[in-house]
C-alpha cells in the first residue's frame, strides 16, 4: 500500500506519542518557565563583601549623619549612624534616598558653559581660567549665594570673596538666619541659640515643624522618641503652635492653632502671664519690655489680634511655669518671632547657646557674620553684581523674587532652575564623593561637629567646588592658607578637637552654655511683633515635607509614591482648608482652584482638612520644578512664587508670613 492519508495520520500520531515519551517537551516547558524567572531585561544582582561607611549627607537642609551601604565596593543605599548624635540610627526621607539621587541621570555630567541658549562641555582648566578672568574683570562686584548652613566650605568661599574684595556673601533665607539675627543682632548676644530638646520636660514649638522640616529633624524626632518611650509614661510635654496641623502636630501632646504672622504676638501674650507671675529677666530693657507687654499684650488684645483665647495662653504659661526645664522653639524667617521666643526663654531662664567653632581660614566670615546679610533685601535693593556664584542652593526656584547678575556660576550637582539659568555650570562632587562637614546644625542642643570623607568614587567629571575655588584663588594669587579642602577639613577637625581620620571621617560632641543677651529687644518688638496680613481672600500657610523635597533638593526618585494625596493629587498640588474657609470662599472638596498672589499663581485642588486655621489655606512648598528629572519637573506648582515678600518693621528682615492670595475657581 502507498503513502495515503491514513499512513500519514498513523505516522504523525505515532510521532506525537513518541515525542511524549522523550524529555524534550517537558524540558522545554520547564525551561520556558525558568526563562520567565530571569528575563534578560530584568537587572541581575551583583554580590560581594558588604560594608557600611560613615558619611555626611548634606541633601536635607540640616544634613544627616549616615552610613553608606556598599556591596563589592559600590554603594546601593544608606542607613542611620548610631554613633552620631545627629542620627542615632535614623535618617530623613531625603537622605534615605541619597544613593539613588547620586546615580540619578539628572546629575550634571561635567563642567558646562552656556553658548547661546544651549550648554557646551568645557574642561575644568578652561573653567578655572574663565572664572578667574570674570572675577578679575568684576572688580569686586561679586556675590556668593550659599545654601549650606553648616559647612566649613563657607569659610573657603567667604574667605575667597574677601580676597577679591567683596562682602556680598549671602545665605539663602532660613530659620537659622532669623534666630542668628535676633540673638546676635537685636539682643546683642554672641553665638548660636541652642534648644536642648533631649533634656527639656516641656517643649513649645512656636511655628517650628520640628519633626518634619525644622532644624535637625532626625535629632528632634529622636529627642521626642526618647522622651516618649513606647509603652511608658512620657517624660516631656510637646506642644505645637502653628496654623496647620502638620506631621509634627500628629504626635505632639497638644496643638494650638496660631497664625504664622501672629506667632510673635502669641508668644508675647504668653510672656504677659509669665511676667504677671513675677518672672524677671536680667536684661537692660526689661522695664520697657515689661510695660510694652502689659499694655499691648493683655489677653484681650492678643485674642483680638490673633484669635487665641486668653485662657489658653494663661494655661500654657502655667504649664511653662510648672515645668522644670521648659523651652520655646521659634520657627520661620521672622526675626520678631525669634526675638519674642528668646525673650520668653529668658524669662523662663532657659535660653541657651552653643558657641561657634574656631575658624581655620582667618579671612573668612564667622557663622553669625554670614547670617547677618539678608539676601532678599539685597536683591530688592536692586543689587546687580557682575558675577554671582551659587553653591548648594537653588535661588531661581526657591526665592519669591528673582535675582539678577551679569554672569552666574552654578555649582549644582543636579540640573536645576539656577543651573539652567547660569552661564557656567561647574558640577560639585556629590556629598558622598567629597570632603564635607557639619558644624552645629541649627536647632541642635549642644556643640556638634561631624566630618564626612569621600566614600564613593565619582563616576562623572565632577569636582568639589571647594577645591575648585581654592585652585582659582591660588591662580589669582589669593592665599587662603590651604591647597585642598581635605587639608581645610583636617585643620578644622583639629581646631574643633574631633577624632578624625582620612578613612572614616570623625565627629565631636561638646555642650551648651547659658546665653547672655544684653536686651530683650523691647524697642524692636514694640514695632515688629504686631501681625501684618496682606489683603487677599485667604492667608497662605505654606508648609514643607522632606518627602516632597527641600529648598535645594527636588523630590527624590523613590519619593513620589510616598507623597500623600493630601499634598499632591494627579500632578496638581492640594490646597487644604477647613470647611469654614471652604464655605467662605465657595469651594468644596476636589474643586479645582487657582491661587494668585506674589509674583505668580498656582493651580490647586481643594481638600477639606479640619486641621487648618479658618481663613488660612495650607499649601506644600517644594513642588512645581521647571527643570529636573521626571520625578519633580512639572509636578504641581511652585508655591514660593505666590508668596508676598515684605520687609519686617524695625528688624528689616524679609518675611512672607501673612502672605495672602486670591482664589479663583477653575
Amino acid at each position: 500500500m502507498g503513502f495515503d492519508r491514513r499512513t500519514f495520520i498513523q505516522l504523525s500520531v505515532g510521532g506525537t506519542v513518541g515525542i511524549l515519551f522523550t524529555p524534550v517537551l517537558w524540558k522545554a516547558l520547564d525551561d520556558v518557565s525558568i526563562w520567565t524567572q530571569n528575563w534578560p531585561w530584568i537587572p541581575r544582582l551583583k554580590y560581594g563583601a558588604l560594608e557600611d561607611q560613615p558619611a555626611v549627607s548634606k541633601l536635607c537642609d540640616s544634613g544627616c549623619a549616615v552610613k553608606v551601604r556598599k556591596v563589592a565596593g559600590s554603594a546601593f543605599g544608606t542607613e542611620g549612624n548610631e554613633d552620631s548624635p545627629l542620627s542615632k540610627g535614623g535618617i530623613c526621607p531625603i537622605c534615605a534616598n541619597a544613593v539613588q539621587v547620586m546615580r540619578n541621570p539628572n546629575r550634571v555630567k561635567g563642567p558646562m558653559k552656556k553658548v547661546g541658549e544651549a550648554f557646551e562641555p568645557i574642561t575644568w582648566e578652561d573653567a578655572k581660567s574663565m572664572v578667574a578672568d570674570k572675577l578679575a574683570a568684576a572688580k569686586g562686584k561679586v556675590a556668593f549665594i550659599s545654601g549650606d548652613q553648616t559647612g566649613t566650605a563657607n569659610e573657603v568661599f567667604s574667605g575667597f570673596l574677601a580676597g577679591i574684595g567683596s562682602e556680598d556673601y549671602l545665605q539663602m533665607p532660613c530659620d537659622m538666619q532669623a534666630a542668628s539675627r535676633a540673638y546676635n543682632g537685636v539682643m546683642g548676644g554672641t553665638g548660636q541659640v541652642a534648644y536642648d530638646l533631649e533634656n527639656s520636660d516641656f517643649v513649645l514649638l512656636a511655628g517650628a515643624d520640628a519633626m518634619e522640616s525644622w532644624g535637625p529633624t532626625v535629632a528632634n524626632q529622636k529627642a521626642f522618641a526618647a522622651t516618649h518611650p513606647t509603652g511608658e509614661k512620657p517624660t516631656a510635654i510637646y506642644m505645637l503652635a502653628s496654623p496647620v496641623q502638620t506631621r509634627t502636630a500628629s504626635v505632639v501632646d497638644a496643638w494650638i492653632p496660631v497664625p504664622e504672622e501672629g506667632m510673635a504676638t502669641f508668644l508675647l501674650g504668653v510672656a504677659y502671664h509669665l511676667i504677671r507671675a513675677g518672672k524677671y529677666a536680667g536684661a537692660a530693657d526689661f522695664g520697657s519690655f515689661r510695660s510694652m507687654i502689659m499694655d499691648a499684650y493683655a489677653p484681650g488684645k492678643v485674642e483680638a489680634a490673633i484669635g487665641v483665647k486668653g485662657a489658653d495662653t494663661a494655661a500654657l504659661a502655667k504649664q511653662l511655669l510648672a515645668a522644670s526645664d521648659p523651652i520655646v522653639v521659634p520657627g520661620g524667617t521672622s526675626v520678631a518671632t525669634a526675638t519674642a521666643a528668646f525673650a520668653v526663654n529668658m524669662l523662663l531662664g532657659s535660653l541657651r547657646k552653643v558657641s561657634e567653632f574656631p575658624k581655620v581660614i582667618q579671612s573668612a566670615m564667622s557663622t553669625s557674620e554670614r547670617m547677618s546679610k539678608d539676601l532678599l533685601t539685597w536683591v530688592n535693593k536692586g543689587a546687580a553684581p557682575a558675577v554671582a556664584m551659587v553653591y548648594e542652593a537653588n535661588p531661581a526656584y526657591s526665592l519669591p523674587d528673582d535675582f539678577k547678575a551679569g554672569f552666574v556660576v552654578s555649582f549644582a550637582t543636579e540640573w536645576d532652575e539656577t543651573a539652567a539659568k547660569a552661564d557656567l555650570v561647574l558640577p560639585n562632587a556629590f556629598t558622598f564623593e567629597r570632603f564635607d562637614d557639619m558644624q552645629n546644625p541649627y536647632g541642635i542642643g549642644k556643640q556638634t561637629y561631624s566630618v564626612g570623607v569621600p566614600v564613593c568614587r565619582p563616576t562623572l567629571d565632577v569636582m568639589a567646588s571647594t577645591d575648585f575655588i581654592l585652585d582659582v584663588a591660588a591662580s589669582m594669587g589669593i592665599n587662603l592658607g590651604f591647597d585642598s579642602f581635605a587639608e581645610v577639613i583636617a585643620a578644622k577637625a583639629e581646631a574643633v578637637g574631633a577624632d578624625f581620620d582620612e578613612a572614616s571621617g570623625g565627629q565631636y560632641e561638646g555642650s551648651y552654655s547659658s546665653a547672655r543677651a544684653s536686651v530683650l529687644g523691647a524697642s524692636v518688638l514694640s514695632r515688629a511683633a504686631a501681625p501684618v496680613r496682606g489683603n487677599g481672600a485667604v492667608v497662605l500657610a505654606p508648609y514643607s515635607q522632606l518627602i516632597v523635597g527641600s529648598q535645594n533638593v527636588a523630590t527624590t526618585p523613590n519619593a513620589p509614591c510616598v507623597i500623600s494625596t493630601n499634598v499632591l493629587k494627579g500632578g496638581t498640588l492640594v490646597a487644604m482648608m477647613c470647611s469654614a474657609t471652604a464655605k467662605k470662599i465657595g469651594v468644596s472638596d476636589e474643586s479645582k482652584i487657582k491661587l494668585s498672589g506674589g509674583n505668580g499663581e498656582a493651580a490647586a485642588l481643594v481638600k477639606i482638612n479640619e486641621g487648618v486655621l479658618p481663613g488660612a489655606v495650607a499649601v506644600p512648598l517644594g513642588l512645581g520644578h521647571t527643570v529636573g528629572d521626571e520625578f519633580s519637573k512639572g509636578v504641581g506648582d511652585n508655591v514660593y512664587k505666590i508668596l508676598t515678600v515684605r520687609s519686617e518693621a524695625a528688624t528689616g528682615a524679609t518675611v512672607w508670613t501673612g502672605s495672602t492670595v486670591n482664589v479663583a475657581k477653575m
Binding site: I42, F76, E79, G90, P93, P105, E212, Q221, F224, T230
Partner: protein
C-alpha cells in the same frame, strides 16, 4: 482553619503616637527591596511606545508600597480635629487569608519565625491572594521594573528583582533574617535564638522617631513580647480572625477604634 504555631514569631509593635508619617520607612523599604521608581516611559519596549504610558506615582493604586503609611482622622471639625499616621507593612497573619487561596503554593507560612513567604518565580500572577488580603498588603507588578539609566548600577543584593506579572509583599526584610542567622553561626551563637536587634527590618531600623519596635513576640527578652500585651495595643481587623503578627498601640481611643469595625454597636 487550624493555625500553625512557631517557636519564633517575628512581629512588630508600631506606636502610632510616635509615627510622624515622614515616609522615611517607605523610602528605606523601596531601597532595601529593589523597588524601582515609577517611570512613565519604557525606552526598551517599542510596543509600549505605541500605546499609553506606564503609570507614574500619581496612580496610588498602582504603586509598590510594601510599607504604606495611612492617614487617620478623628473626623471632628476645627479645632477638635486630630490626625494620626498608621504605617502598614504586611501583617504576617497567623491565619493568613492569602496563603490557602494561592493555587500554586507561591505563598506560604511554613518557616520558623512565622513570616509569610512570597516566592516570585513560582507566582503565576492570578492575584487571588490580593483579593483575599483585607489589608491591601499585597502588590502586583503591573509593569516591568525599570530604573532610570544608571540607577540600577548597584541594587540591593538582598532581594531578587521581580519581573512584571507577579505579586509581591513585605516580608520583614527576610534576607536580613537569613544574614543574622549566618552571623550568629559565624559567632558560634544559636541562630534560633537571636538577640534583640540582631535582626531588624529596614523600616524599623531607619524610623527617626522610633515608632516601630521589632522582635520575637514569643521571646520574653524581646521588647515586643511585653508591648504586645499593653492595654493600648491592638491589631487591625482582629474580628476577622486573621491573627496578625503586627501590633499597633495608641493612647488615643479614637485611633484604637479605627483598628476594627464597631458599627454593629458592640463595645471595644
Amino acid at each position: 482553619m487550624h493555625m500553625k504555631e512557631f517557636k519564633i514569631k517575628w512581629g512588630m509593635v508600631i506606636d502610632i503616637d510616635k509615627c510622624t508619617g515622614c515616609g522615611a520607612c517607605m523610602v528605606a523599604c523601596q531601597v532595601e527591596n529593589n523597588i524601582a521608581p515609577m517611570t512613565k516611559k519604557d525606552p526598551y519596549n517599542y510596543v509600549q511606545a505605541l500605546t499609553k504610558d506606564r503609570d507614574d506615582a500619581d496612580n496610588k493604586l498602582r504603586t509598590l508600597t510594601w510599607m504604606n503609611v495611612y492617614e487617620l482622622s478623628n473626623g471632628k471639625s476645627f479645632p477638635e480635629h486630630e490626625v494620626a499616621y498608621l504605617p502598614r507593612p504586611c501583617m504576617q497573619c497567623g491565619n493568613p487569608a492569602c496563603v490557602p487561596v494561592c493555587p500554586v503554593v507561591a505563598t506560604d507560612k511554613n518557616e520558623e519565625g512565622g513570616i509569610v513567604s512570597q516566592i516570585y518565580p513560582r507566582c503565576i500572577g492570578c492575584r487571588y491572594c490580593m483579593a483575599a488580603c483585607p489589608y491591601h498588603a499585597r502588590y502586583f507588578n503591573w509593569w516591568d521594573p525599570l530604573w532610570p539609566e544608571g540607577m540600577d548600577k548597584q541594587l540591593s543584593p538582598a532581594v531578587s528583582p521581580r519581573p512584571r506579572g507577579v505579586v509581591e509583599k513585605c516580608n520583614f526584610c527576610h534576607t536580613r533574617y537569613a544574614k543574622a542567622k549566618d552571623q550568629a553561626r559565624e559567632n558560634g551563637e544559636d541562630p534560633m535564638n537571636l538577640a534583640e536587634g540582631a535582626y531588624v527590618p529596614a523600616c524599623a531600623e531607619i524610623c527617626p522617631s522610633g515608632a516601630i519596635t521589632f522582635g520575637d513576640l514569643n521571646n520574653p527578652e524581646h521588647k515586643v513580647h511585653e508591648l504586645a500585651k499593653s492595654p493600648h495595643a491592638f491589631r487591625l481587623l482582629e474580628k476577622l480572625g486573621l491573627h496578625p503578627q503586627v501590633y499597633y498601640m495608641s493612647k488615643r481611643e479614637w485611633v484604637r477604634k479605627q483598628g476594627d469595625n464597631y458599627n454593629a454597636g458592640d463595645k471595644h
